[in-house]
Amino acid sequence: MSILTAFTLKQNRQLLWELTLREIRQRYKQSVLGYFWVILSPALQMVVMSFVFSFVFKLADVGVPYSIFLFSGLLPWTLFSTSLQAATGSLVSNAGLIRKIYFPREILVLSNILAKNIDFFLSTTVFIAMMFIFRIPVTFHVFWVIPILLIQNLLTYGIGLMLSAFNLFYRDIQYLINLILLLWMYLTPIMYSVSIFPEKYRWIFRFNPMAIFVNAYREVVLSGGWPNFTSLGLALFLSLVLLGVGFKIFKKLEGQFADVV
């Protein structure tokens, strides 16, 4: 069973897509604003946090308007945290399917991550509008976002595979991950820039792949420069290792999923 089977077989691809659609459809049924919430909630979060950090705490100058600085980190972080939470719960929430029909189970994890990526693309519309409003110059370097986003998703998928499988055996995982994500967020330069962080602790960011991604997004989108390839290479390496290990654990436990779910 290859790690790519979820994509190489046409039937698996279609299943992945149908499950992703189901994931999206079911979420905002019976709400007035429906899918508009996907755009609204990160935007409102950004507005509130901008207010707190630029008027109340008065953070040091970050080179661009603070709200756009914050948003550029908040969006990919939200993608990471929501997809990891969804991935962790993906097997438990599809217990009915797991008990009855066989298909490669990683498709459930993937479809949850994919659905959050679609949310992410929709919520970037507000960000793009803000880029125009604040007249931030954009260069071709902005296309680096694509490979960075891909590496970020590899990381999410790797961790998601492990956590979703463990969560079947111990539901503690889904509560634990919320706590870890909260701490992780503060250790990632989302609300602040690396430069205001005490120098002697800055090494944390070098080993925090999310910090590497956030810095890279900002570099290519807001500053129009090259991403730091050494850091990005390290993040890619780490993501691939986690994905390899995660997939191996997932497949080893897969035969027991139906018994414990």
């Binding site: 046409k10 039937q11 279609q14 299943l15 149908e18 499950l19 189901r22 459809r25 079911q26 049924k29 009915g96 399917l97 797991i98 008990r99 009855k100 029909i101 066989y102 298909f103 463990f166 055996f169 111990y170 503690d172 654990i249 080893k252 436990l253 897969e254 035969g255 027991q256 139906a258 018994d259 414990v260």
Partner: protein, 247 residues
């Protein structure tokens, strides 16, 4: 039957269910690498060294009282759960009718659910497009097909699910008590469909309590009790033995 390759060959299939009650978090990691203390877990054998062969085109029944391991056996064959010991070989594409409508989503319409469920069962979207009219006809709920399935009655729900399941392409049908769905009229229709599959040379594996179905529909049967094989052979004889034990 025939000298062709059998549809299913199973050798010494065993399934040990382990209960996690006594496992703690710190024992989980060693258990993953295979070094866990297996003795401390509650466990029981749901299936013990069951062997059989099902020929292509044969209708095969698995009977036994509740908790005898019938459904576990079917789940192993469907690939849903893994056997602890033993091995099996399946030749052909399987359609599992383990639980109907497992992938249905209440907020999606009947039509959307047909596509979703059909793909889950292993068809492609293109294949489904070709047969969707047949599925809707068979389910007899054409006027409600574009409504969310949460508004369906349980009978409509099961009929739709059954219709999707039997319209997938398959060589081997694994059915768990599904002949008991719907009202009398629909049950007759299902049975007629099963007869049709049989006539078309499909292999059918049926888990049931109903010895009448076994005698009328199946050629051979396997009788399980406490996970062990009691007898396996001619459907009539096996069903008679089962009835004798149950009396």
């Amino acid at each position: 039957m025939s000298s062709k390759q059998p549809a299913i060959t199973a050798r010494n299939l065993s399934k040990l269910f382990r209960s996690q009650k006594q496992k703690t978090f710190k024992e989980m990691l060693p258990a993953l690498i295979g070094k866990g203390k297996k003795g401390v877990m509650d466990s029981f054998w749901a299936l013990r060294e069951v062997s059989f062969e099902i020929a292509k085109g044969e209708s095969f029944a698995i009977i036994g009282p509740n908790g005898s391991g019938k459904s576990t056996l079917l789940k192993i064959l469907a690939g849903v759960t893994q056997q602890t010991q033993g091995e099996f070989v399946v030749n052909g594409r399987i359609a599992p009718l383990l639980e109907l409508g497992a992938g249905f989503h209440p907020d999606m319409t009947g039509r959307e659910n047909i596509y979703l469920n059909s793909i889950i069962l292993g068809s492609t979207k293109e294949e489904t497009k070709k047969i969707i009219e047949d599925i809707i006809d068979f389910s007899e709920i054409r006027e409600f097909i574009d409504q969310p399935v949460k508004n369906y009655s349980s009978g409509m729900y099961v009929r739709l699910a059954f219709a999707v399941a039997i319209h997938t392409q398959f060589d081997i049908l694994l059915a768990d008590e599904v002949l008991a769905v719907g009202d009398e009229k629909f049950q007759k229709k299902c049975l007629a469909k099963m007869e049709e599959f049989k006539a078309r040379g499909k292999t059918i594996v049926l888990v049931t309590h109903n010895t009448k179905t076994v005698k009328e529909f199946c050629q051979r049967a396997l009788y399980l009790r406490y996970g062990k094989e009691i007898s396996c052979g001619e459907a009539e004889e096996v069903a008679a033995r089962y009835l004798e034990d149950m009396a």
